[in-house]
């Protein structure tokens, strides 16, 4: 029997090859997108995680500071701890050279200590260097990847020039490549230098990035961490290797989950295409199925055969999808890098990797989608009694009954409740499930909506009356949709799904873009900005106090405001994040520009004030009115009063604004990073820039080559360009979803036209021209498109609210204002309606190729 079922399934597939290919493409598309996203993220994450672990060697615990590092006095304390076997201090920096402008990682370490933790590391001095070159201030060792990065025109630069070194008096340092370093497991470009040399050349002499620790045998790691934690300043964290992995993953987790959810949505729409095509395939095969029932097949056997067909399509689609997905991932990683341009894994060019488990999961998802898409219609088809199924016209009667509207309503309610639940594991998982249920609920209710809103006859509008012939075509369409909503509902479901997802994404992206635009306009108060490009490290360069005074006195400048930006590790409520501290003159104008979401003046105490970003509030679970300890100077941390919450789209790890005078008083740091400049009204930006380039190059007071002069409008344009680029992938997904929806309409009308061929044959006999029937199909297609698009518009808008006010907040911790591009949405709905009308007309015409005289025959 199994053999017979298999035979039936294969025969069914062969007989419906076009529809099978459509279903297969739907599944393959969804799986491909899912696999591509998963593979890209997995590869980048694996690479990062491996690099972090390899760089830490066999460390049991790592003490890590923020990107600004921490005082190396701590090293002595830790190294002398009785539980510590080896402690290796590390300086970790991104350095740049003219031929490697994206930056290279530089590790400064004590080689003898490092080698104890990483015995596989080998330094190989070249012929011109001796073994002591390891300790030389101007010598570096590079790995193969760095060698490639520093190779120009096929020739490796023996002396790599690093310009703009902050510790060098002339702003540049030339380092000699003294040999190679073999650091197994590290594929990214890496430069090694002795820690003292690295500190001297590139960072503060008493600053280090981390300390890798190996504990004595028998020491309990967790107990050690617990005992050491109270001794550590606020700006350092004590992490196990597992915690480091978690931290690496956490940086991009929300971004990855959102992309994965998007790809699953693509898979879902692909699954819908399978459902649509299979549902309509069984309409065509109604007589065949009834005959098989008559011959002795049970309902279960037939359902099994049809489900097997879907499963085969699912497996083949998934296999193709996995292959295509890996190809897409490879191509995208070559083009955009491992972060799809988002900046989370910038600079990484990882090797493609996808776990076997992921492959199996996507294979199973394809199988499940195909089987489920086939199972439901198979059940409906096989439930028709064979005697009825054998009668002419049985196909017209399929899917005429609808599931209870209570199911749809229940799905909407449960979905709505789930979207209001808090995040799970820091991710908006319940909100995504809620979105899925809302979508299913809307799809289930759409055919009922048809029955309610579609009139049984064309309504009269005043004295206007259509010629009766035109009214007939319209009335026939209305009656067909009103009285046989089950069949058209199948096609409509695809439209509702794809269009609601499209509207949801459009509203979300539009809201984000508009909010970003408003935010940029408020943040970029000054018309021009001057920044010191630190040609040496990734950290921005600084203006000294003397340079700031001189700039303020420039003839083209009316007013200048300097800010100071620093990263500091901050702990609160047992939570820790690397906070960006922005010290700026907090004039009322600046406070207003922070787009304060809420602000509470201090009542009783006189603590210094800070305005925290939404991400800070979320990550540290801190609210306005609380106090926050931030270590700005070398001494004890300062307690700040959280005076307000502001919106910040640029720093997902959190930021806090404090008054610059307060900052200087606490930290003693008078340096400035960005200069916000108000040019005198008599000057244009380009004239001022030319003036600065010319006059500031005179004398030796500033390295003018490292200065970047930027027009605020240019920053705004560039930011929006980057935004648009990072959302380009979602537009592709939307287009794919719409294509799937249209393919669903086409499949629906193709099958409906086939099922209604007798009706069309009769109407042709009664005097309807072929074109009249095509018009009728166009009207029905347009109605399906219109109602589907209208339902999709409402559903999509609701989903967009969930995306904006729940998913985004739970994922990225920022809020945005709702901006609905109604005109675009309505325009797209109109376009979709027109396309649906055309799809119905053409697919119906193809199905009507049978001559009307044949169609009206009893055995047609």
């Amino acid at each position: 029997m199994i053999k017979l079922i298999f035979l039936l399934s294969v025969a069914g597939l062969r007989a419906n090859i076009t529809r099978c290919i459509m279903s297969l493409c739907g599944i393959a598309l969804g799986v491909a997108l899912g696999v591509a996203v998963q593979a890209i993220n997995n590869s980048a994450l694996t690479e990062m995680s491996q690099a972090t672990r390899t760089l830490s060697g066999a460390a049991d615990v790592t003490v890590r500071g923020g990107s600004a590092g921490f005082n190396d006095l701590l090293f002595a304390t830790i190294a002398n701890h009785s539980d510590v076997a080896v402690a290796s201090p590390i300086v970790e920096l991104q350095v740049r050279t003219p031929i490697a402008p994206r930056g290279l990682k530089l590790i400064g370490a004590d080689y003898l200590l490092l080698a104890q933790l990483n015995p596989t590391i080998q330094l190989r001095p070249n012929n011109t260097s001796d073994r002591y070159s390891i300790f030389a201030t101007d010598h570096i060792f590079i790995n193969d990847a760095a060698r490639q990065a520093l190779t120009k025109n096929g020739v490796i630069l023996e002396d790599a020039l690093f310009t703009g070194a902050s510790n060098a008096s002339n702003g540049a340092v030339t380092l000699k490549i003294a040999g190679a370093i073999d650091w197994p497991g590290i594929s990214e470009p890496l430069i090694f230098q002795d820690i003292a040399a690295a500190q001297q050349n590139f960072s503060s002499l008493n600053t280090i990035s981390r300390i890798d620790i190996r504990l004595n045998l028998g020491v309990d790691r967790d107990a050690f961490i617990a005992s050491l934690k109270p001794m550590l300043p606020d700006n350092v964290a004590l992490l196990s290797p597992e915690a480091q992995d978690d931290q690496t993953a956490a940086v991009s987790r929300a971004y990855r989950v959102n992309l994965t959810a998007l790809s699953l949505i693509a898979l879902f729409t692909g699954g819908f295409l399978v459902f649509t095509t299979q549902a309509l395939a069984v309409v065509r095969r109604q007589t065949e199925l009834a005959l098989l029932r008559t011959l002795g097949f049970t309902v279960n056997q037939l359902v099994a055969a049809l489900t097997l067909e879907g499963a085969i399509i699912g497996v083949v689609g998934a296999a193709i999808g996995i292959g295509v997905g890996l190809g897409i991932a490879q191509a995208v990683m070559q083009l955009l890098g491992g972060d799809l341009g988002s900046g989370f894994f910038a600079g990484s060019k990882p090797k493609l990797s996808l776990s076997t488990l992921s492959v199996v999961i996507f294979g199973l998802l394809g199988l499940f989608t195909g089987a489920a898409g086939a199972f439901l219609p198979a059940r409906a088809a096989c439930a028709v009694p064979p005697a009825r199924g054998l009668k002419p016209g049985a196909a017209e009667l399929m899917f005429t009954t609808l599931p209870s509207p209570v199911i749809g309503a229940a799905l909407l309610i449960v979905g709505g409740i789930l979207t209001q639940r808090p995040s799970l594991f820091g991710l908006p998982l319940l909100a995504y499930v809620g979105i899925g249920l809302i979508l299913f609920g809307a799809i289930a209710l759409t055919p009922h909506l048809c029955k309610v809103i579609i009139p049984s006859r064309l309504p009269k509008i005043g004295h206007f009356q259509l010629p009766s012939q035109s009214a007939l075509a319209l009335n026939l369409s209305l009656a067909q949709m009103r009285n046989a909503p089950g069949q058209t509902a199948i096609g409509m479901a695809g439209v509702v799904t794809s269009f609601s997802l499209m509207v949801a994404m459009l509203v979300m992206i539009s809201s984000f873009r508009e909010s970003l635009d408003v935010w940029l306009n408020k943040v970029l108060l000054a018309p021009a900005y001057v920044r010191v490009n630190n040609g040496f490290t990734e950290a921005p360069g600084t203006f000294t106090a003397a340079q700031q005074v001189r700039i303020a006195g420039d003839t083209a400048i009316e007013r200048v405001e300097f800010n100071r930006i620093r990263s500091v590790l901050v702990s609160h409520n047992g939570l820790q994040t690397e906070l960006t501290i922005i010290a700026r003159n907090l004039t009322p104008e600046v406070i207003a520009s922070l787009t304060p979401i809420n602000r509470t003046p201090q009542q009783n105490s006189l603590l210094p004030e800070t305005w925290i970003s939404e991400a800070t509030a979320s990550l540290l679970q801190i609210k306005v009115g609380d106090s926050l300890r931030i270590q700005l100077g070398a001494t004890a941390p300062t307690t700040f009063y959280v005076a307000g919450l502001w919106r910040d789209y640029s720093r997902t790890k959190g930021a806090a604004v404090i008054d610059r005078a307060v900052y200087q008083q606490i930290s003693g740091d008078a340096l400035g990073n960005d200069a916000a400049i108000w040019i005198k009204p008599t000057w244009t930006f380009s004239a001022a820039r030319d003036h600065w380039q010319r006059t500031w190059a005179e004398g030796n007071w500033i390295d003018s080559k490292r200065l970047a002069y930027v027009d605020a409008a240019e920053i705004r344009t560039m930011s929006l360009k980057v935004f648009d680029r990072s959302f380009a992938a979602t537009y592709l997904l939307q287009a794919a979803a719409i294509l799937v929806g249209l393919a669903g309409i086409s499949a629906t009308f193709s099958a409906l036209a086939w099922a209604r061929r007798r009706e069309f044959g009769m109407l042709r006999h009664l005097g309807m021209a072929r074109s009249d029937i095509s018009t009728m199909l166009s009207i029905e297609g347009a109605l399906v498109g219109l109602i589907g698009a209208a339902t999709g518009l409402v559903t999509g808008f609701v989903i967009s609210l969930v995306l904006i006010f729940v998913v985004n907040r739970q994922s990225f911790h920022w809020s945005m204002e709702l901006h609905t591009p109604w005109l675009m949405c309505i325009g797209l709905a109109a376009l979709l309606t027109a396309l649906a009308s055309m799809a119905a007309r053409f697919s119906g015409q193809a199905a009507m190729s049978q001559a009307p005289v044949q169609a009206v025959k009893v055995d047609a």
């Binding site: 017209e396 009766s468 009103r482 009285n483 009664l766 005097g767 072929r770 001559a851």
Partner: protein, 232 residues
């Protein structure tokens, strides 16, 4: 009046189905066309209806000759909707329209006014004995009732010619007899002419004249027997 002249149909390289058929039918006349299976009865009917092209020959109705080559779909459709009525073996009543809406289709196709549509539909439903089923769904009707709806639909717009292809093929003998009687009376009452294509001697016997279609043409079959004679 229907006039068929030198009508031929062939499907090369097969020998012609029929050749040089001459045939005429006055209004108020109701005839049957019989013949062996595959002789081309339905094809003959379809050519007259303008649904299938003829190989040669002409067909005219009320002195209006039309395109037997079947090239102009719009013109053919306009001709059918004004001049012809059809009754099919499988009824072909639309399940999603009411009985009255089904009957009204030809009038709507002819752009009749809503007053006229209401009046004529009521008249025809009354004539076929379905006045009380006006708003009913066809799904609730029996086969005989559905064929009554089809007859009402075929005559509601007062066509010049009614073409019925095995209209009782799906009905039991008693219902079939009722339907055939109704069809005949309505054709005569509406002053249409009609051709009934059938295999059934009994059905053919209800008409005024029986013809036999052969490859050589349409030959009168005489003498005609009454249904009672056939049953005896």
């Amino acid at each position: 009046m229907l006039q068929v002249q030198q009508l031929s149909k062939s499907f090369p390289p097969q020998p012609p189905l029929f050749e040089a058929v001459d045939f005429s039918l006055q209004r108020g006349r109701y005839v049957a066309v019989m013949g062996e299976s595959g002789v081309g009865k339905s094809t003959f009917l379809n050519i007259i209806a303008g649904m299938e092209p003829a190989s040669s020959g002409t067909v005219s109705l009320d002195n209006m000759q039309y395109d037997t080559a079947n090239k102009n779909d719009k013109a053919q459709s306009a001709f059918r909707r004004r001049q012809l009525g059809f009754v099919f073996q499988a009824f072909h009543v639309l399940p999603y329209l009411t009985v009255a809406q089904n009957v009204a289709i030809p009038l709507q196709l002819n752009n009749a006014t809503s007053t006229e549509i209401s009046r004529r539909v009521a008249e025809m439903l009354d004539a076929v004995g379905l006045a009380n089923q006006h708003g009913a769904s066809p799904m609730t009707l029996s086969g005989g009732q559905m064929q009554r709806v089809a007859i009402a639909r075929a005559l509601v717009h007062r066509p010049a010619l009614v073409l019925a292809d095995e209209p009782t093929g799906n009905l039991d003998p008693e219902t079939a007899a009722q339907i055939l009687a109704l069809l005949k009376s309505e054709i005569i009452r509406n002053n249409a002419c009609a051709i009934l294509v059938t295999h059934s001697e009994i059905a053919a016997a209800t008409t005024q004249q029986i013809y036999r279609l052969t490859a050589k043409g349409l030959l009168p079959k005489l003498p005609i027997k009454s249904p009672d004679q056939i049953f005896d």
